[in-house]
Symmetry: C2
Subunit: 304 residues, 2 copies
């Protein structure tokens, strides 16, 4: 197992300007795992309810995802209900039912505890910390995501966690909220001051900007003609980003740059259909082709 | 004269989160000309009032800008009063005094009428059309900018003008308003359907995206730590963009891509100080250095 991810597995009710789904497989850990599975071996830690469809486990396992860390608990699977208005970048959460996720206590097997890469998807930072502390050996790279809720109600714990990770992946608005800085480079600098050696600021349809100690890298979003469902774009980005790093087993600046484009590639696929419908059935050549479209989208000649 | 620009010359009252200026030299034609002057010979067509400061003419002429097309009319120079709130991307116009600009009738000398490149900055599209029609020979490249006001009150004339230009430079919001399309690639496609072979969609702090018939190119904005005054960023972009094209005298896809980065380079300087304070005193090596920073901001290695 190259990458371990801990995070939500969910059934989402989603409405976008294009259509509506009553109950689709979702959750940060799910999007991350499927996306990363095209690059490396992934194991998931999480909890599902009694209502969890065995076909969804089969789909994950068909991607060689290790689901031994998925606990089945009494009750219902975590459920998120959200809507995207005209501004397709921002989800409006209509309802969140934690269900089995409310009492979730992650438990790691020996294989889990020795994963070389660890992604702490957006959950309570106390749980993220618990997983990090439960690792037998410090992974080569630890990254995490978070959200405004935890900045509001658990900032000290979140700050402690961030001080221990290598890379924070975070939305632009939340980066500004976390740091109190209005300008992106200032927010990134403040994050790096907290501990990480790099941070990826996610900017929705404007792409993502990667900041390191002494470099920045702008990854554009792919100019898609149709965005069907933005849910999971950020976690699909994270899956491509860390999946690529784990596959080359390098976390230097050059690898981080390429990884950000791989992440953008996977995010661009994720939003092309509802839920996981697009990214659960992909070929390596489709991924290569889209990656090359990013090369074309960004290339220019030097001044003459 | 390689490039002719027609557009406003103004005294602006500007307030930004960083400070305030009561009356600073501005106007689209001014920003464009000074920016383009680092790359090629520029001539301006426009009107100023009796209050126009001779020192400002001297500044323009120190950039080898041909100001013979600047008419001095009875009355006051065009005056724009604007404010930038927390969202530094969007100016709030508090007051517009057309003054001498209200009766402006552009007149072209023979040299003006034979310029090889023509930029029709944001003014009444009827005036933009008049200048285009007054050219002796059709320029190698004609580009224009516009704004929401003209889309609202002069759409047929604007559409006629756009059908005759090679490149439309336009803000993202205005591109969507003009075309009725919500998605950027759709809006770009609709613009190209109107006639231009390319369009540059300006996205403020998110950069600019260039669309051609069968390619797109994402130019990021430079992640500046301090934006002092965004006024003129778009016109400084246009000046760098067309200035570069005129300097290499090519308008093919490769040149347009590089030109978009040159435009982004000049825009990134323009916002670093109030008005023209930053871009009126620059060196070629500063420009080269910033251009190379864009190379570094966007470079990544292929998949391995």
């Amino acid at each position: 197992m190259k990458i371990l991810v801990v995070g939500s597995i969910a059934y989402d009710a989603v409405e976008t300007p294009v259509g509506k789904r009553e109950s689709q497989l979702g959750g940060a850990a799910t999007y991350f795992s499927v996306s990363a599975s095209y690059f490396t071996d992934v194991g998931m830690i999480g909890v599902v309810g009694e209502d969890f469809d065995p076909a969804d486990i089969e789909m994950l396992e068909s991607h060689n995802i290790d689901t031994s860390g998925l606990v089945k608990a009494d009750g219902k699977t975590f459920r998120w209900t959200g809507e995207y208005m005209e501004d397709i970048n921002t989800a409006v959460t209509l309802d969140t039912q934690l269900n089995v996720f409310g009492d979730f206590e992650p438990e790691l097997s020996e294989a889990h505890a020795n994963a070389r890469y660890l992604f702490l998807a957006n959950i309570d930072p106390a749980l993220q910390l618990k997983v990090l502390d439960a690792m037998d050996t410090r992974p080569k790279m630890v990254a995490n995501d978070t959200m405004n809720l935890w900045i509001d109600i658990a900032k000290p714990t979140l700050t402690e966690l961030i001080s221990k990770v290598d890379t924070l992946l975070i939305n632009e608005e939340e980066a500004k909220q976390l740091t109190g800085e209005d300008h992106l480079p200032d927010a990134a600098k403040a994050i790096i001051k907290l501990g990480p050696s790099s941070t990826v600021i996610k900017r929705g349809e404007y792409g993502a900007t990667l900041f390191g100690n002494n470099f920045s890298f702008a990854a554009p979003a792919y100019p898609l003609e149709r965005v069907i469902d933005p849910t999971g774009a950020g976690d699909s980005f994270a899956g491509g980003f860390m999946g690529y790093l784990a596959s080359v087993d390098k976390v230097d600046e050059e690898s981080l740059r390429t990884a950000a484009i791989v992440g953008s590639t996977m995010a661009s696929f994720a939003v092309e259909d509802f839920g996981l419908d697009r990214i659960k059935n992909m070929t390596k050549s489709e991924i290569d082709e889209r990656f090359n479209a990013f090369v074309d989208l960004t290339r220019f000649n030097p001044l003459t």
